[in-house]
Subunit: 356 residues, 2 copies
């Protein structure tokens, strides 16, 4: 059979624990579906700073580049927060995105039935919410020139936000295509009443839209979008936006589902290569105690199967197994109503693997 190579980056905090469960799932799908994976582990983030003196060692990049997909746990922790820029986990994150050409970050925000009550939103408002934020990931103010200079008013800091037509067009086309396979609605978010990059963004969206007449397009200003996500979350299908706005809005959207510990994400480039990771962070406070919920990482494997490998059946099986185990009432501590009944990270992984 066709052997797929997966670079596995456990990272920091709860990263290694949740990734270990996702690897159980990989093994299980090999048995059940006759798939075949070759995994290679690599150091990244805080642990790479500690062991290799840099958050993104060249060998890690090489491992990723020779893989078909990357599975990432989580990176970061307080011990690296005051490091100089080149020795911070985030710098590794920005670096890996850029180096691997991952220009598109997909963050589905869905509501898990068993977690409906975990949202701070009223259930009737949340009802039917199933949206996906497509965030541009390698452009904008994140990657523009940054510097300091002296000014008459004291030291001055500058960030530059730039977007060219090619960068906007590829992510916008991808978003229209995702919308075509869903409910055929696309909201493009910008600040075209103030920013030049947003005006270019909107021009490109309007030009590209002509090729997707079946998709209903709306332009939403970013401040208004922050409001509408709260007011009518279920009315959104696909939201596409630039890097900085996407960072803010995708977190807002994830939080309002109440299911943030269960959400997975994909970062894609040209072709089928992708990096998959849970939306949640490295949660250093609960690391190493078997308390973490591995579901978001396990669902990231399902996303990988679907988007990079085209293993639809196996992806469905993983998602069904997760639903089954939750329906049977099993919960890790973060989502348990009665914490004394909570099962461990490994127990959750085992149950889901067994249910496949």
């Amino acid at each position: 059979t066709d052997v797929k190579k997966i670079a596995v980056i456990a990272g920091d905090g709860i990263g290694p624990e949740v990734v270990a469960e996702a690897e159980k799932i990989l093994k299980r799908t090999e048995e059940v579906f006759g798939l075949s994976f070759e995994t290679e582990h690599a150091l990244f983030g805080g642990i790479a700073i500690d062991k290799k003196g840099t958050p993104l060692p060249q060998e890690t990049l090489t491992v990723c580049q020779s893989a078909d997909a990357v599975l990432l746990g989580a990176v970061g922790g307080p011990q690296w927060d005051n490091n100089p820029k080149e020795l911070r986990p985030e710098t590794g994150l920005l670096g890996i995105r850029k180096e691997l050409g991952l220009f598109s970050n997909l963050r589905p925000a869905v509501v898990f039935d068993c977690l409906k009550d975990a949202s701070t939103l009223k259930p009737e408002v949340l009802e039917g919410t199933d949206l996906i934020v497509v965030r541009e990931l390698t452009g904008g103010i994140y990657f523009g020139e940054k510097y300091r200079r002296e000014s008459a008013q004291g030291e001055e800091a500058i960030d530059t936000c730039a977007y060219n037509v090619t960068e906007v067009e590829r992510i916008v086309r991808q978003s229209f295509e995702i919308a075509q396979k869903r409910r055929k609605k696309l909201a493009s978010v910008d600040k075209a009443n103030v920013l030049e990059t947003s005006r270019l963004w909107r021009e490109v969206v309007n030009r590209v839209a002509v090729d997707y007449p079946d998709v209903e397009l709306e332009h939403v200003l970013v401040d208004n979008c922050a409001m509408q996500l709260l007011r009518r979350p279920s009315s959104f299908d696909v939201i596409v936006t630039e890097n900085m706005f996407g960072d803010i809005l995708s977190d807002e959207a994830a939080m309002l589902t109440g299911s943030i510990g269960m959400l997975s994400s994909a970062s894609l480039g040209e072709g089928s290569f992708g990096l998959y990771e849970p939306v949640h962070g490295s949660a250093p406070d609960i690391a190493g105690q078997g308390l973490a919920n591995p579901i978001a990482t396990i669902l990231s494997v399902a996303l990988m199967f679907r988007l990079t490998f085209g293993y639809e059946k196996a992806a469905d099986a993983i998602e069904k197994a997760v639903a089954e185990v939750l329906d049977a009432g099993h919960r890790t501590a973060d989502i348990a109503v009665d914490k004394s009944q909570a099962i461990s990270t490994a127990q959750m992984g085992d149950l889901i693997a067994a249910a496949i």
Copy 2:
């Protein structure tokens, strides 16, 4: 007595209607408290584009500059949305902020008891929410250099985000001082793990914090803040942030109170001068029908009394009058449960004036 000069800018859409009610309140406080106001009306926004060919005519600026405070209704509407930049209402807004040196925008987000249920958040989450977003208003990416250029990847647009120490320090000091008079908690929001302007921002905040040891300071990343506003809105007291982040977060915060139609805001510079306006927009769809809710604009007058004139008693009286009228069950259409019982814009203004 001391005559205070107020520049009145009715603007577009429902602006003239809600401002007319606020003027009733001014008159009433003259009678009841022996105050004295001289109001001067000026054209601004869409109506100024139509009548004067520019959203911010020089004479409007002069009227504002010779006044002690400005009362603004709302600007904008679909008929100007596709105009070139210099003929758009927003350009007037940015211009007036810059020209009048209004570097600080205060947006209190409070929950009105009678509107608790209007929020999409669960009442128990919202309970006790009373925060204020202090948004830097004349710097950052809004006012940085903007241009286009050709690149190998097609046309490219650039926006520049700049902040100097002076700009950051004045708004941060003001925020600490506001926090001192409230619950003594300040959340400074930035993206210091990515942006150079945010790193400068955070340095200044930490330096200034030494002068306010009684205020509890937390640094919150902007993406995390978008989440925490949803998760624990009542834990925030004062939030200070830069222009673009403040635009997004203040709208999110306003919306989650459920009271967005009732919120007022102040834009301040050095000294006591200020511009006061409702948080809501020009609502062209209901303009001219007596359907608009004038309460946000009336409460903007209370804010003006308190922050610019130091008329504490009269400010209290306005706020008490609003509460009384609402407690008595009077509602404009936007906040009425039974729309058939709704009263008009003018009726609401009359009732509040009478209650003072």
